[in-house]
C-alpha cells in the first residue's frame, strides 16, 4: 500500500510524464490503437498520435490499465505502423478552444480549420465531453419560435431551447426543411442575438454545400459555425463532431448570451460509427448490433440543449436523422425519440403526393408545445384548435381505410366530409412553398378553414365560444 507521500509523488510523476513521447504500439485495429509500457494514463485523457509520416492526429483513452492503454484515433489509423507510431498522453481530457471568432468558419469534426483561412482561434478551453446541466439550474423553455411553417407552428410547435429532431429517410426533403427553419425562425417580440452551429456527420459534400449556399443567400453565413466531418472523412471523427459543435454552442449560449440553433445531420451516421468502435472492441451488442450504451451516449448529446436560469442564451437542437428502411422503430430514431422533446416525422407517401414539407403530424409531437402556445403566446384558441385538428385528421385516416375497402361512394355523408377536410388539410395547411413564411395567425386561420369543412357538432375539442368566433369565418 502506498503512503500519502508516495501518492503525491505519483501525481507529480504523472504530471511530469504527461506529454512525454512513446514510440511503438502493440496493436492497431480499426480506429483503435493499443500501447503497452506507458506511465499510468488517465481514463479519457487526450492523446496526440505521431504518425510515421510526421503528421499529428488526436485521440482519446477508451480503456486504461496497468498493462495496456486503448486509444481511439479521431482522424483514423490509415498509414500508422506498429513500430513507428508515437503517442503523447497529455494528462488532461479532450478540450476545444472556443471563441466567437469561430462563427463564419468552416472546421473539421475536431474544430480545426478546413476553410483555408488559417488556424481557428479559440481562447477559452472547454472540455468537449461537457458536464451535465444540473436540473435545478435549468429554466423550463417556453418561448414560441415561429418557423413560418404551418404544420410545425400549428401542430408541433418549436420552442426556444427545445431538442426537436427530424425523422426522415433517404431522398426526402429534410435538408430543405432544416434550411427553411434556419432562415425563417424568429421569436416574436424579441430581437435576440441569433446564431447557428452546424454539424455534419458522414453526409456528402453536396449536403454541406446546400446548407452553406442557403446560409450565404440569406446573408447569415458570418453567423454560422460549421463543423464538417463528411462521408469521405474518417468515420471515427464523426463520434466527436457533435460534441465539438455543442461545446461551442454551450459557450455561445451560456457565456455569450446568444440564441443558438444547432443543426446536426445525420445522427444515424454518428450512431453507426459508435457501433463500429463497439464491435471492434468486442463489446456485447444490444439491438441491431448497436452498443448497449447508445441511449446514454445520445443523451449526452441531446441533453446539451435548453436554457439555464439567470442566463439569457439558449440552445435549440434540430438533429436530422434518416430512418433506415423508413422504420421508426429502428434503434436510432427509437432511442432518439426517447430522449428528445418530440419529433417531426416525415412520410414518404406525402412527398410522393407532392406535399412539402412531407410531415405526418400524427406520429409527430412537440412535448414543449403545451407551455408555449395559447393566450399571450400564440393565440387563445391554439391549444384546442391543434387538439381538434389532430383528432379530426386521425379520423380521416380511419375513413380512408374504410373507403379503400367499401369505396368512397358507400361512405356516409359525414365521412365524405371528413375526406374533404383531410384533403384540404394536407394540400392547403400542411403543403407550402420552400420560401413561404406564414405568420401564426395565418396558420391558425387556415386550420379553422379546414375544420369548417366539418359540421360543428363534430368539433368536440373546441368550446362553443371558439366555434362562434372562428368557425366558418
Amino acid at each position: 500500500m502506498r503512503t500519502k507521500a508516495e501518492t503525491l509523488l505519483a501525481q507529480t510523476d504523472r504530471r511530469l510524464l504527461s506529454g512525454r513521447e512513446y514510440r511503438g504500439v502493440s496493436r492497431i485495429d480499426g480506429p483503435l490503437v493499443y500501447m503497452r509500457n506507458t506511465h499510468a494514463v488517465g481514463f479519457g485523457e487526450l492523446v496526440e498520435i505521431l504518425a510515421p509520416d510526421g503528421s499529428h492526429r488526436s485521440g482519446q483513452v477508451l480503456d486504461t490499465s496497468d498493462d495496456v492503454v486503448v486509444v481511439q484515433v479521431f482522424e483514423g489509423t490509415d498509414g500508422l505502423t506498429l513500430p513507428a507510431t508515437g503517442m503523447r498522453f497529455m494528462g488532461e481530457p479532450l478540450t476545444l478552444g472556443v471563441s466567437e471568432q469561430m462563427l463564419g468558419r468552416v472546421m473539421n469534426g475536431l474544430g480545426k480549420s478546413r476553410d483555408g483561412s488559417g488556424t481557428v482561434q479559440g481562447f477559452t478551453q472547454r472540455e468537449v465531453n461537457g458536464e451535465p446541466i444540473n436540473p435545478t439550474a435549468r429554466e423550463y423553455p417556453r418561448d414560441f419560435i415561429q418557423t413560418g411553417i404551418s404544420v410545425i407552428d400549428g401542430m408541433t410547435t418549436l420552442i426556444q431551447g427545445q431538442k426537436l429532431p427530424i425523422f426522415s429517410g433517404n431522398g426526402l426533403d429534410h435538408n430543405q426543411l432544416a434550411a427553411q427553419i434556419a432562415r425563417q425562425a424568429k421569436v416574436r417580440g424579441s430581437s435576440g442575438d441569433f446564431c447557428i452551429v452546424f454539424a455534419a456527420m458522414g453526409v456528402k459534400y453536396d449536403v454541406a454545400r446546400f446548407f452553406i449556399d442557403s446560409f450565404e443567400e440569406t446573408g447569415v453565413l458570418d453567423n454560422v459555425a460549421l463543423f464538417l466531418s463528411l462521408a469521405d472523412d474518417p468515420s471515427i471523427e464523426r463520434t466527436i463532431t457533435p460534441k465539438t459543435a455543442l461545446t461551442l454552442a454551450e459557450y455561445l449560449a451560456f457565456d455569450k448570451g446568444k440564441q443558438v440553433l444547432v443543426i446536426m445531420t445525420d445522427m444515424t451516421n454518428y450512431c453507426e460509427s459508435l457501433r463500429e468502435i463497439g464491435t471492434m472492441r468486442g463489446e456485447i451488442p444490444s439491438r441491431k448490433g448497436y452498443p448497449g450504451y447508445l441511449y446514454s451516449n445520445l443523451a449526452e448529446i441531446y441533453e446539451r440543449s435548453g436554457k439555464i436560469s439567470g442566463r439569457s442564451g439558449s440552445i435549440t437542437q434540430l438533429p436530422i436523422l434518416s430512418m433506415p428502411n423508413d422504420d421508426i422503430s429502428h434503434p436510432v430514431p427509437d432511442l432518439t425519440g426517447y430522449i428528445t422533446e418530440g419529433q417531426i416525422v416525415f412520410e414518404r407517401g406525402m412527398q410522393a403526393r407532392g406535399i412539402y414539407p412531407p410531415i405526418n403530424c400524427l406520429p409527430s409531437l412537440s412535448r414543449l408545445m403545451k407551455d408555449g402556445i395559447g393566450e399571450g403566446m400564440t393565440r387563445a384558441d391554439h391549444p384546442h384548435l391543434a387538439n381538434q385538428l389532430f383528432a379530426s385528421y386521425s379520423h380521416v385516416k380511419d375513413v380512408q381505410n374504410l373507403a379503400s375497402v367499401i369505396g368512397e361512394e358507400e361512405l356516409t355523408t359525414l365521412d365524405q366530409q371528413y375526406l374533404e377536410f383531410g384533403s384540404f388539410f394536407e394540400k392547403k395547411f400542411v403543403n407550402q412553398g420552400f420560401d413561404e413564411d406564414r405568420s401564426i395567425e395565418q396558420t391558425l386561420d387556415l386550420g379553422w378553414e379546414a375544420l369548417s369543412k366539418l359540421p360543428s357538432e363534430e368539433l368536440q375539442r373546441l368550446t362553443d365560444e371558439e366555434i362562434a368566433q372562428y368557425y366558418g369565418k
Binding site: T64, D66, D334, P363, Q460
Partner: protein, 592 residues
C-alpha cells in the same frame, strides 16, 4: 475516512474499475477513488481484486490511484428535511451541488442529504423509564405543514429501556434525543438522523391484505384498472405515448400521503418542470402545496449511469422510511427500463455472460426484488403504512415482448399498457382498455362499492362488456361499412365512442379535467350507462339512432368532463334526468 486505503486502481473501463491489492474491502462498501474522491461501490471481490462501480464520470482516473474505504455500505440519510428536496441518484441534494459548482455538475463533491445544523421542534412521546422496541415512535417533528415526521427507534434496537429523553424543544438532527439501555446493559443514543443501506429492505411486522384503492384522479385507472394501496403497476409504452404525463398526473393528484418521484435516466427538463410546477399546485384534499409531500430524485439520462442504477434503491428506501412512520407512500420510477439498461451496461463492462438482448441473467431477480418492496404493511410500531410502486417501462420500438416489459409483467399485478395508435390520435391518457388489466379488482371491490351506492363493480363490468363488443363490431364495419349493422348494434359503437371522448380521455392540461374525484367518476359512468340503456330501449321501439345522437343532452355529456367542476356534481344528476326525459319523449312519439 480517507485514511483506510483498500486498494489501487488496476484498470478503468468507463464506470467500472478493477482494483488490486485488496485485503479488507467489504462487499457493497462505499468507497472514494483517487484524490478527486469520486464516489464508488464495491460490487465484486475475487483473488485479491475488487470490481468497483463509480457513481461519477470516470474521466481522469488512473491505474495506480488509491481507493479509500468508508467502512459502510452505500446508504441514505433518513431524517426530517427530506421532503421537498431534489436529489441525484445517490442522495446528493442538487440545490447544494448547484451552489457549489454552478449550473453544471462537477465531480467529487459530497454533501449531507439533509441539513445537519437546522433546528427542528421535537415533541417526545415517550417518558424516561419506558420500554421501547424497534421501530417505535419516539417523538414527532412537524416536517412540513402537512407531514408530521415521526422519529423511530432504530431497527437494530430490539428492546430497551429509556434512561433519558430530552424535553420538547429545538434540536438538530444530530443532537441526542434519548439514551436507552439495552437488555445486555449497553447504552445507545438516539438522534433524529439515521442511515440505512439502500439495497436492504427495511423490516416490517407483517404484510397486510390490500383493500384500499390508490385513487389517482384518472378515470381510466380508477374506474377500469384500479391500483391498490401497497400494489405495483407497470406503465409500458413507446416514446411519446404518455408514461411521464401519467406519472406526473398521479404524483400530483393521487391520495397518497407522500410521493417519491424518481426521474431515472430521463429528460432534465421534465424534472425542472416538476420542480417548478409542484410548489405552485395545491392538493385538493389538504389545501397544501404539493411540494410539501414530495421528494424528487433526478438522475437524468446524461448523468452517470451507475448512479442511475442506484437511484431506484435510494428512492424506495426513503419511501419505506415514511411507510414505517405510518404513511401511504407512492413511488414513481420513470423509467425502470433505463435502470435495467444501466444494469446491462455495467454488466457488459464487467464482462459477465449476457442473457436475453445483452441483459444480465439476474435481471428478473432484480426486478422482482424491487417490486417486492411494495406492500401494505403493519409497521414495527403497530401502525399501518404502504408503499405503492408505479413503474414506467420504455420498450425498444414500443414492442412489449422485450425482456424488461415481459419480466416486469411477471412481478406486477396491474398493467396499464399505452397504445401508440391512441397517442397518435391524441386520445390521452393512451391507456389501452383492451391490453390493460388490474388484478386488484377483487381487493378494492368492497371499497369502491361502498363509495358508489354499490354500483361500481357492476357498472364497470357493463362498460367493459360494451368495449369488448365494440371490437367485434368494428371488425365487421371495417369489412362492410357501418350501414350493414342494425341500429341496436351501431348504437353500441356510438356509446363506446362517446365513452372514449367523454370518460376515458382526460386532458392533463385542463384545470377542471386533470383531476376527477371518485364521486364525479361514479356519476359520469352512471349517466353514460343510462344513455346506453335508455337509448337502446328507444331504438328497439323504432327510434332512429341519429335522433338520439343529436340530443342536446348528449352533446353536453361529451363535454361534462371539462365543464362540470368538482363542486357542481349535481349538474350531472340533472343532466341524467334531462337525458332520460328527452329519450323518453322521442320514444313516446314512436310508440304511437
Amino acid at each position: 475516512m480517507k485514511e483506510r486505503i483498500i486498494g489501487r486502481v488496476k484498470r478503468v473501463n468507463g464506470p467500472i474499475l478493477i482494483v488490486k491489492d485488496i485485503k479488507d474491502a467489504m462487499m457493497m462498501e462505499l468507497v472514494r477513488i483517487g484524490e478527486q474522491q469520486l464516489v464508488g461501490e464495491v460490487v465484486k471481490l475475487y483473488d485479491g481484486l475488487a470490481t468497483v462501480q463509480v457513481y461519477e464520470d470516470a474521466t481522469g482516473i488512473c491505474p495506480g490511484d488509491n481507493v479509500y474505504g468508508s467502512g459502510m455500505s452505500l446508504s441514505v440519510e433518513l431524517a426530517p428535511g427530506l421532503i421537498g428536496t431534489i436529489y441525484d441518484g445517490i442522495q446528493r441534494p442538487l440545490e447544494q451541488l448547484m451552489a457549489a459548482s454552478g449550473a453544471f455538475i462537477s465531480r467529487g463533491l459530497t454533501f449531507d442529504a439533509v441539513n445537519h445544523q437546522k433546528r427542528w421542534s421535537f415533541t417526545p412521546l415517550i417518558e424516561t423509564g419506558a420500554t421501547v422496541t424497534a421501530g417505535q415512535i419516539l417523538g414527532t417533528v412537524q416536517e412540513t405543514s402537512r407531514i408530521e415526521h415521526r422519529i423511530l427507534v432504530p431497527v437494530h434496537i430490539k428492546s430497551a429501556v429509556v434512561s433519558e429523553i430530552v424535553e420538547a424543544g429545538e434540536y438538530t438532527i444530530e443532537d441526542i434525543l434519548a439514551t436507552v439501555v439495552l437488555s445486555n446493559g449497553h447504552q445507545e443514543q438516539i438522534c433524529m438522523l439515521q442511515r440505512w443501506p439502500i439495497r436492504l429492505p427495511r423490516p416490517v411486522d407483517k404484510r397486510l391484505a390490500l383493500k384500499q384503492p390508490l385513487i389517482t384522479g384518472l378515470r381510466v385507472i380508477d374506474t377500469l384498472f384500479p391500483l391498490a394501496k401497497g400494489g405495483t403497476v407497470a406503465i409500458p409504452g413507446g416514446f411519446g405515448t404518455g408514461k411521464t404525463m401519467t406519472q406526473h398526473s398521479i404524483a400530483q393528484w393521487c391520495d397518497a400521503d407522500i410521493i417519491v418521484y424518481i426521474g431515472c435516466g430521463e429528460r432534465g427538463n421534465e424534472m425542472t418542470d416538476v420542480l417548478k410546477e409542484f410548489p405552485l399546485l395545491i392538493d385538493p384534499r389538504t389545501g397544501h402545496s404539493l411540494m410539501e409531500r414530495t421528494i424528487l430524485i433526478a438522475n437524468t439520462s446524461n448523468m452517470p449511469v451507475s448512479a442511475r442504477e442506484a437511484s431506484i434503491y435510494t428512492g424506495i428506501t426513503m419511501a419505506e422510511y415514511y411507510r414505517d412512520q405510518g404513511y401511504h407512500v407512492a413511488i414513481m420510477a420513470d423509467s425502470t427500463s433505463r435502470w435495467a439498461e444501466a444494469l446491462r451496461e455495467l454488466s457488459g463492462r464487467m464482462e459477465e455472460m449476457p442473457a436475453e438482448e445483452g441483459f444480465p441473467a439476474y435481471l428478473p431477480t432484480r426486478i422482482a426484488q424491487f417490486y417486492e418492496r411494495a406492500g401494505f404493511m403493519k409497521t414495527l410500531s403497530g401502525n399501518s403504512g404502504s408503499v405503492s410502486i408505479i413503474g414506467a417501462v420504455s420498450p425498444p420500438g414500443g414492442d412489449f415482448s422485450e425482456p424488461v416489459t415481459q419480466h416486469t409483467k411477471r412481478f406486477v399485478r396491474c398493467f396499464w399498457g399505452l397504445d401508440r395508435q391512441l397517442a397518435s390520435s391524441r386520445h390521452y391518457p393512451a391507456i389501452s382498455w383492451l391490453e390493460s388489466y388490474s388484478e386488484y379488482l377483487g381487493d378494492v371491490k368492497q371499497w369502491w362499492n361502498d363509495h358508489s351506492d354499490g354500483t361500481w363493480y357492476q357498472s364497470r363490468q357493463k362498460i367493459m362488456d360494451l368495449l369488448q363488443k365494440e371490437v367485434r363490431l368494428q371488425q365487421i364495419v371495417k369489412l362492410v361499412g357501418p350501414d350493414a349493422l342494425p341500429d341496436t348494434q351501431n348504437f353500441i359503437l356510438e356509446v363506446c365512442s362517446l365513452f372514449k371522448t367523454a370518460f376515458l380521455q382526460q386532458n392533463a392540461f385542463d384545470e377542471v379535467d386533470r383531476f376527477c374525484s371518485v364521486e364525479k367518476q361514479v356519476k359520469m359512468l352512471s349517466v353514460i350507462l343510462a344513455y346506453y340503456e335508455k337509448g337502446l330501449e328507444a331504438i328497439t321501439k323504432g327510434v332512429p339512432m341519429v335522433k338520439i345522437r343529436r340530443l342536446k343532452a348528449v352533446q353536453e355529456m361529451a363535454r361534462m368532463r371539462l365543464t362540470v367542476k368538482g363542486d357542481e356534481l349535481e349538474t350531472i344528476d340533472r343532466l341524467q334526468l334531462r337525458l332520460e326525459r328527452s329519450i323518453d319523449q322521442i320514444g313516446g312519439i314512436y310508440e304511437n
